[in-house]
Amino acid sequence: MNKALDVRGLTTRFETRSGMVTAVNGVSFSVERGRIMGLVGESGSGKSVTGFSILGLIDEPGKVVAGEVLVDGQDLRALSPDAVRRLRGARVAMVFQDPMMTLNPVLRIGDQMAMAVRVHEKMSKRTAWEKARQTLEIVGIPSPAERLKAYPHQLSGGMRQRVAIAIALLHRPSVIIADEPTTALDVSIQGQILAEVRRLADETGTAIVWVTHDLAVISSLADDICVMYAGRIVERGPAEDVIGAPRHPYTVGLIGSVPSLHEPGTPLPQIPGSTPQLSNLPTGCPFRPRCPRATDICASEPPIVGEGDHTVSCHHPMEAP
């Protein structure tokens, strides 16, 4: 098998004042080498927590309580925290939303990149700097040798995010988890980064999980899409199928509410209600209270239906095209 990442039954819970909350509920998906998987959802859907859980970055009061995270066939959850730390950054890496938070403001770019190199590989500082320089070149940073001597505040937001991506790429990891990495950037800079990321996946064979709320971005970038709602994956499939012929009523509503698909000035189809409180979910399908197709049967656990790669977790999915 060519699976770089295989997540099975991942479940993460948080202890809160209003009781136990299941933020990620039995999430399973896999990503092959060189492919980009889009994890889409609104706030509170558990998409970011899924990314953090894969890397074992969940702190108290949260806990990954079940599931397997196989990277190149090796289960990270079965390893000791020390062993996971050795793999993190080398085989699995993460890119966060805000590069100003991830870069150390008082270290030169080159120093922090060399540090990240030498944590995982024995080599001289000079070789590490050279490796850092090459990686900056890969992500399309002009005059990389000079940028290595710069401090983060001397770079623009787009450049900083390229540096963060370069750091994730340093050890040619099998998997990169990217959590809303272009959300804070301007559209013209976002376009540059998206083009670069697509090229990297194609050329380096790194599998990428792209966590986002932006359907337009993910439809033009990803190979496959998983739609999350209230901690579960409700629909998955090849990007063009999920966007072009969505079958879960939530996905249908989500895509329908994007203005660019409608005649200007006309009312937009809207999903009634608001995103649910995880501490107070209905039984069965969590989308039931907002769903136009819901019936009594939806109070029971929805089945997974669909042909081939495109599946939905729903009692009343839209007709397959």
Binding site: Q192, L194, A216, S260, P267, S274
Partner: protein, 343 residues
Amino acid sequence: MKEPLLTVESIHKRFTRKPGLVMRGIDRLSGRSSGTTVHALSDVTLSVAAGEVLGLVGESGCGKSTLGRIISGIYTPSDGRVLLDGAPVARARGNNIEKLTTRVQMIHQDPFASLNPRMKVGETIAEGPRVHKLASAGDVRKRVRDLLQQVGLEGAYADRLPHQFSGGQRQRIAIARALAMEPDLLVLDEAVASLDVSIQAQVLNLFMELRRKLDLTAVFISHDLSVVRHVCDRVAIMYLGRIVELASARELYEKPQHPYTKALFASVPTLGTGRAAFQPIKGEIPSPLNPPKGCAFHPRCPMAGPRCRVDLPALKPVAGTATTVACHLNDGGTGIEKGSHAA
């Protein structure tokens, strides 16, 4: 054409940072000046007719929010003037200025920051009308209930605090607060940017419905091209403190004129086009502290010629359209010698 409700005449806005104590001492000794000035807006002129919704679009640092704040009377312009129904706002004194500024109401991006967390939402909505004596105490309470219903919330919510509401509901409350002043003009600064897609659709629908019912005039500031297309009649595209293109929404989206507008459209992913080959704009947005000479877009522009590096292009009408654009291509060419350019 209707008389414009709002006119903005050659507005400039400069922000100056005074040097610190030590640098002031050094300046005095050396006779230099180390204060820095940002030209947030340079020579911006536009008008909005009654009943019209004008979109202001651009990337960070283009001055769209600064312009919104000048129109709302939060900032005073360094140069130029704002007129409401032909009367200059800055000239007004005493009661008049109050009357004028209350005619413009603003809705901000973050409904978590713009509502006082310790004030019941009913009080928040009633505060403006009470202070400006638009209604008696008894009337205000009824008005608050009506307003809440108008924005799709229950009248009984008036006694709740902001933390009891979701982001979308809070933005509805912010809209109710603005409408309570019965403004002639609304300024919405990224009002739906922080909302989830499904909630954003609800708030956009509310805005369009209120616009029809109340015949609202609005300035709609956003970086989201698809949202702007949906709700605006006319759109101004801004780049580094200047308007580079001003057109009806239909013309702009069908036939963008300025190379920056074209590049912006090309680099924005849209839903339903499948996996796209992005054609991103090369380079970065220059710092407004030190904008490029000539046309500010020339370092990133694929069409730039020698003239673009020297001459500042003026907004000129495009033949056969209602569009105005600030580009030498529309005004005698970029000064490229014959044969040197394939296009």
